[in-house]
Symmetry: C2
Subunit: 108 residues, 2 copies
């Protein structure tokens, strides 16, 4: 995400970075702790390798997370949020809280 013509509206700017469901779920998981590739895949559940990898790479390019490769055998790759990624926590928290309320109202 280069600094080229950001939308005038801040909400749209935010949507550019996390407009898709997968990125939000990745953020949710990494907000808790650093995770390995397969750990992340298992946690999200129904995501394919291709989609997980492409989202992780995009988020890395956007500066939301940091990818660290440990040259071991078998290889180990850890994903952790950058400061900018962690700064999204208020959004995730707001989504969490709203979800809680929604569940209370609609789930019996």
């Amino acid at each position: 995400m280069m600094n080229k013509e950001l939308p005038a509206c801040p909400v749209e700017t935010t949507l550019l970075l996390i407009s898709n469901k997968w990125k939000v779920l990745i953020l949710r998981d990494l907000m808790e702790k650093t995770m390995r590739y397969n750990e992340l895949k298992a946690s999200i559940g129904s995501i394919s390798q291709k989609v997980l990898t492409s989202n992780l790479r995009a988020m890395e390019a956007d500066g939301l997370l940091i990818r660290t490769v440990y040259p071991e055998v078998p290889p180990r790759v850890e994903y952790t949020l950058s400061e900018q990624g962690r700064s999204l926590k208020p959004i995730l928290d707001a989504m969490w809280n709203w979800g809680i309320d929604y569940q209370k109202q609609n789930n019996k």
Copy 2:
């Protein structure tokens, strides 16, 4: 959005309701004031009629907004947030604030 098997994670529940960009933009606009169809269309800008209508109908079915038809000629249709829709404000605010910060950092 029926009360059928909501996800265990509240964040996922929230994503079920507002996982797409268009819905977020509609919420952003209606958070300010009640709006008419064409007003909304013009405000969002690059959305087609079909997509705008389908999202509005989905959000109405989910109880996020209220659609009021005034039997006039020409017809007038107003969209306003329900209480549940308005309760999403903290999420929109968090997105707004994050977008502001992001713009400051990346837009010179």
